[in-house]
Symmetry: C2
Subunit: 411 residues, 2 copies
């Protein structure tokens, strides 16, 4: 482990100062190498597929695991798209001259060595490696056990492209000990590792952020709300509420709880019931909700649950203050929306809700780096510090100060 | 503890949305209250002074502990200076419209509840409380045991100003259980606390960053270097080297190791010896150094030590690459400088050294928020993420996205 980490740290000083031209050349070579090695990759992927069947993985997981020529080609395309992003390193964020004559530049630099812990889909391996390389970072990848053969061959192919360009393999590597103990060790190596990004279940993320001494950027749960205010436009409210829940139920930006103002509840709840019936969404509601539509009872536990499935909790609230209080109690500070034509209450809601993304008259499913126009997405951070919400490639950089003097001494 | 933290969290939603006008009014009231209560404060401070004498605290520590009318007046002035800073909350950092017609604002918001753990000087209590209030945060303060009576009365006086303005006392509070166990509990409360800022000894900081589940912004050690390149201007090199070491030896930006290029060593080392003799600086050097001047031998342990006292390690290096390698091995990524007139090597050094502050022809003692023009300083972060190096009040804010749609749904 020690030697492995030392190599990673040494490689980080090499990749940090590569020019954009070189990095893009390597990225394009990586893309080509993936396509040229499609058969090798499919062969190794088959081992994971066979093991997955033996272990009775569910159909959705098996589908995410499978690599075909077309999917490998998509992985290559994703790398080429990362190559054409604007160079993220060396951007001067601010610059000024002090009274004492120092010229100060605040300039973006890579973070260093980044450990990424993720599950199942093997394309995350190539996406993440490409994002880290483009931003001048070394990555240590730890994918899911069920994709181990696929991840290993993908990393090997990417390393071949590094070696072809006379760069150390350690710029992209898999954690050698991929066991739970290996992860437990990795997250304590603050001397070598600068950042851990865990992507996966709530338990894994909780474990890592409680035990890491390395800083962590979490990609944790989204318990998202939409609040239909009394002055909502009914059609907008219907469109947005359906989209926020039903477009895709399994993503972190999907709405889990719908809050309905009591003044609009008699009008809109019956229409919502009809609309959700088309999507076979299971509705659960509070006692007040049950005055207007027939639904099973929502418990406190429902309001605290990120279903990630086709179930929706509904609560009738008496005003914007009650909506805000509910979200404060049950929300996860991810994405929350208000539907209203009322300017004052819209701003009260948007300023009071302390979530990464707060929406007016829009679906919470927009929380996504691609939708925000970030070009490539590292993920959706539920951290408050450094990177919050949809995280583009600049989230993989930090800054330093370059200070130019003229023999300057401090008085 | 639970009730205390709940009150802090509730207070955070109140202070987060206060207008600048209200916050400034409270800050000015706090300043006035400190002066009006000078006698009460001095009285409580005397208890700490008496206890300090009983515990044989050293003279420097005793001096830092002492509060006089003049020092209390300085604390009030510092608060008034924080009040006039530009409002840090609600700044729109970026804004754009997406292809799908969403209008997105990336806007600064307070972090929430901040725990600050610090030592000795009681003025940190009022400075920190004022910085946190100005940036819309609740602070939980844990000062040194030796200043407990002083900190308690200062916090009480600040709370009286909050109450006078109908605001909850919990906006500024002392950690009720200030024992080591109390701190151990606090740093695990990620449900209530958003950030821990430890300021103090390396041991304390190491303990906190290894054990916290709350994110930490460290203010750790500075093992700073100055490298005199072969093409240095000798006068600049002498001025800067003396200033970097001798202006103040006990601050984190003070130079601990001087690297001298072998091509300039014969010229400059004898001059440096004379110059440092004026400041009675103890010099320790490598074998090559000892060829030119008489000094005791510097060991590997010397190069790894942050002296914070009037001792300087010297090493003769053969080129910029060896200087960079030495700093990578022994440095703490805080502040490092090169003295040269050579443009190419200057940029190689400044781009390769991964420190918060990299200087050309300037003293590392400039690493200070005041010197950078930040107006008020939270401290000097040795984190890579969120805030790096001198940390102004904007380091106490984060951002969120406000997204304005028109009934927008995602395709």
């Amino acid at each position: 482990m020690e030697t492995f980490l030392q190599e990673a740290k040494e490689a980080s000083s090499i990749v940090a100062t590569l020019s954009g031209t070189v990095k893009n050349q390597v990225l394009n070579d990586m893309a080509t190498a993936l396509i040229d090695n499609s058969e090798r990759i499919e062969e190794e992927n088959k081992k994971d597929i066979v093991a997955g069947k033996e272990n009775n993985l569910d159909a959705a997981l098996m589908d995410r695991l499978l690599l075909t020529k077309a999917r490998i080609s998509d992985m290559a395309t994703a790398i080429r798209e990362i190559a054409v992003l604007k160079e993220p390193v060396g951007r001067i964020l601010e610059g000024w001259t002090t009274d004492t004559g120092l010229n100060i530049q605040k300039i973006t630099v890579p973070i260093g060595v980044i450990g990424i812990i993720y599950e199942s889909r093997p394309n995350v391996t190539s996406d993440t490696a490409a994002l880290c390389l483009k931003s001048g970072n070394v990555c240590i990848l730890k994918g899911g056990k069920e994709a181990q053969n696929s991840n290993k061959i993908i990393a090997t192919v990417l390393q071949e492209a590094l070696v072809k360009n006379n760069l150390p393999k350690a710029i992209v590597s898999l954690l050698p000990d991929a066991s739970r103990e290996g992860v437990a060790k990795l997250i304590k190596q603050d001397e070598y590792v600068d950042l851990i990004i865990p992507r996966g279940g709530h338990g894994l993320i909780k474990y890592i952020s409680s035990n890491a001494s390395v800083p962590v950027i979490k990609h944790d749960k989204g318990l998202c709300h939409t609040y239909i205010h009394k002055d909502a436009d009914v059609n907008k409210a219907l469109d947005v509420s359906i989209n926020a829940k039903c477009r895709r139920v399994g993503i972190c930006g999907a709405m889990e709880t719908l809050l309905v103002d009591e003044n609009i509840a008699p009008t809109i709840l019956p229409q919502l019931k009809v609309a959700y019936a088309n999507y076979e969404t299971e509705l659960r509601g509070c006692v007040k909700t049950q005055k207007y539509i027939e639904v099973t009872t929502a418990t406190d536990e429902d309001y605290a649950t990120e279903y990630l499935s086709n179930i929706l909790s509904i609560k009738v609230v008496s005003n914007v203050a009650e909506a805000i209080a509910h979200i404060r109690t049950y929300g996860s500070d991810h994405s929350d929306a208000i539907i209203t034509e009322n300017y004052t209450d819209a701003e009260i809601f948007m300023n009071s809700i302390d979530s990464a993304c707060v929406y007016l008259n829009a679906s919470t499913q927009f929380t996504d780096g691609g939708q925000f126009g970030f070009g490539a997405e590292v993920g959706i951070s539920t951290n408050k510090l450094h990177a919050r919400g949809p995280m583009g490639i600049e989230g993989l950089t930090t800054y330093k100060f370059k200070i130019y003097g003229s023999g300057s001494t401090r008085a």
